[in-house]
């Protein structure tokens, strides 16, 4: 059986839920082991065990929280040298992208990102051209490094799953302590989390200005259990905080209903929301690519429709 590793990201003691999705997928491919580096790692190891990791290499060392990528690559390189896994799975997150890129160069291992499906340790699938073509990719060498977007796989606990925790005892050399995190800022959001909300409303350039996002928030309150997100263009323009961003760099959402207001549908946005069960799009431009993946498309002015929709939802909910 091949050995499949899951690199489980941990931040502020919180395990990235995608690591449980990856561990679940890894069970189909071989023996599952995980690596988790940073404060809270040992505690998180138990949870990875419940999802199928038989061994979890863990270190609670603060160095992994303080410095970007290089300490992790140092530790992973040592562990890989000793244990020779066949494949390492990462989530497509900020820290993991930095670490996986460096690790690929350090090991000379090929890397594939935006993985949608993993058939075996030699074969995986991704989508190109706005998700219209699925490409089957043959991979060589070991270990292969794969990055999958959040929610690509469904996390399912393994009955009786329990991990043996192996402490990672390497000393991170000074030359790996270079890019330092000196401050952390969280933009506290109210209401349900974007990643978990059953309904997501997203706004793009078509909303014309930051003030109009308030109307989206009002609509979200009217519907209830609804989160508001945004496209990269709007985040870049400073209309809403970074935490709103849905897309390649940003969050992946998979709600029951996704409503796009004034969103054109650039590929880097689509990869973050195309897994939604139902998609509604409102855009003035009838040629907007978002209509190609929408269940209901409305050619019209989002700014006009939002207040009408708030009234309509309120009256129907009574």
């Amino acid at each position: 059986m091949p050995t499949i590793w899951v690199y489980a990201e941990i931040d502020n003691g919180k395990l990235d839920p995608s690591s449980l999705e990856l561990a679940t997928k890894a069970r189909e491919l071989g023996d599952v082991e995980a690596v988790v580096l940073g404060p809270g790692a040992t505690e998180a190891a138990a949870r990875l065990g419940e999802y199928g990791a038989e061994i979890v290499y863990a270190s609670d060392d603060q160095v992994y929280a303080d410095y970007v990528a290089q300490p992790h690559v140092h530790a992973l390189t040592e562990l890989i040298g000793e244990n020779a896994p066949d494949m390492i799975l990462f989530a497509m997150n900020y820290d993991s992208r930095d670490i996986a890129g460096r690790l690929s160069a350090r090991l000379g291992s090929t890397l594939m990102s935006n993985v949608l499906e993993i058939e075996s340790v030699e074969r995986a699938k991704t989508a190109i051209i706005g998700g219209t073509i699925i490409v089957d990719v043959a991979l060589e060498g070991a270990p292969k490094i794969l990055l999958a977007r959040a929610k690509s796989f469904v996390a399912e606990p393994l009955e009786g799953g329990e991990a043996t925790v192996v402490p990672v005892e390497t000393t991170v050399p000074e030359e790996a302590k270079r890019a330092k995190r000196v401050e952390r800022h969280e933009e506290a959001a109210t209401g349900p989390k974007l990643e978990d909300a059953p309904v997501v409303l997203s706004g793009g350039r078509g909303l014309q200005g930051p003030d109009n996002f308030k109307h989206l928030e009002d609509l979200a309150s009217a519907i209830g259990n609804t989160a508001v997100g945004a496209t990269r263009a709007v985040v870049d323009a400073g209309w809403v905080p970074y935490s709103y961003q849905i897309g390649q760099t940003g969050k992946t959402v998979k709600p029951s209903v996704y409503i796009a207001f004034g969103v054109s549908g650039a590929t880097q946005h689509i990869v973050g929301m195309k897994g939604a069960k139902r998609i509604i799009a409102i855009n003035k431009d009838e040629e907007a690519p978002i209509f190609q993946i929408s269940d209901l498309g409305v050619v019209g002015d989002a700014l006009k429709i939002i207040p009408q929709l708030i009234e309509e939802v309120k009256s129907r909910k009574g």
């Binding site: 935006n114 043959a138 985040v235 929709l309 129907r316």
Partner: protein
């Protein structure tokens, strides 16, 4: 300070992409400087204006990728390097990083190597990390703001829930998000001046790379059209669209 900026020539994202057998068609089509890279070029130019030095553009691609370099030069960069070689067709992210690392080493000494967080065509999003490792540089990534003082680079690094302030000593590798600055337009004067700026063209052999260095370890084994989403209905708002959307939400049982 001397700055290298990685730039990519990509098929125009406003034109539907075409395939050339297994790969995305890159030759004989309308190409542009990756819009994400314009922010890298602008970041390089702003730092040059504040601290002096030179901006060198580094690219890998077919001969037509010269156009992307010319565009960066017309914005104000000083010179360019293009690595072009038939053996690089279908290169994976690691081979791309090896080629760019070798080209950067050959092109000179740099205080900062700048790249976009991901390309607009392939969006692998890990090449800069590989490049940092190959050049033995620390990496400050996903920058929303950039500040360079006394040999230190400090950025606001975008995260899922906000941002972190990350800093390191130069030399370093920096990746920029699309929101980091407002890329300038090339002036007519800039376009004329760009025609006289030096652009070197190197092959894989010129970089001293061979065999395993440029061995591509992944290949397209097959492709199938994606299962299409159910063809949706598109209506034009005649004042009743809000009602239709509300019906849809009721059918989906979210209200």
């Amino acid at each position: 300070m001397n700055i290298a900026v990685c730039v990519k020539h990509i098929p125009d994202p406003n034109v539907p992409p075409q395939m050339d057998g297994k790969y995305l068609k890159r030759e004989g089509i309308q190409g542009v400087l990756d819009p994400g890279d314009e922010f890298g070029v602008e970041a390089g130019l702003l730092l040059k204006e504040a601290h002096g030095g030179e901006v060198t553009l580094v690219s890998m691609g077919p001969a037509a990728a010269q156009e992307a370099i010319r565009r960066g030069l017309s914005m104000g960069a000083d010179k360019g390097v293009l690595v072009t070689d038939d053996t690089l067709k279908g290169a994976d992210a690691l081979v791309t990083a090896r080629v760019l690392a070798a080209a950067i080493k050959k092109a000179g000494q740099f205080d900062l190597v700048v790249a976009g967080v991901e390309s607009t065509d392939g969006y692998t999003g890990t090449m800069p990390g590989s490049l940092a490792e190959l050049l033995d540089l620390p990496q400050v990534t996903f920058a929303k703001t950039i500040e360079v003082t006394d040999g230190t680079v400090k950025v606001n690094r975008q995260t899922a829930e906000g941002y972190h302030v990350v800093e390191c000593s130069l030399p370093a590798l920096l990746t920029v998000t699309a929101g980091v600055n407002e890329p300038r337009y090339a002036s007519f004067k800039g376009i004329m001046a760009a025609k006289k700026k030096p652009v070197e063209t190197w092959s894989v052999a010129d970089l001293g790379l061979a065999g395993e260095d440029v061995a591509i370890k992944q290949d397209v084994a097959g492709q199938t059209p994606a299962e299409e989403r159910k063809a949706g209905e598109v209506i034009t708002d005649d004042g009743s669209a809000a009602k239709r959307i509300a019906d849809f939400l009721q059918e989906a049982k979210v209200i």
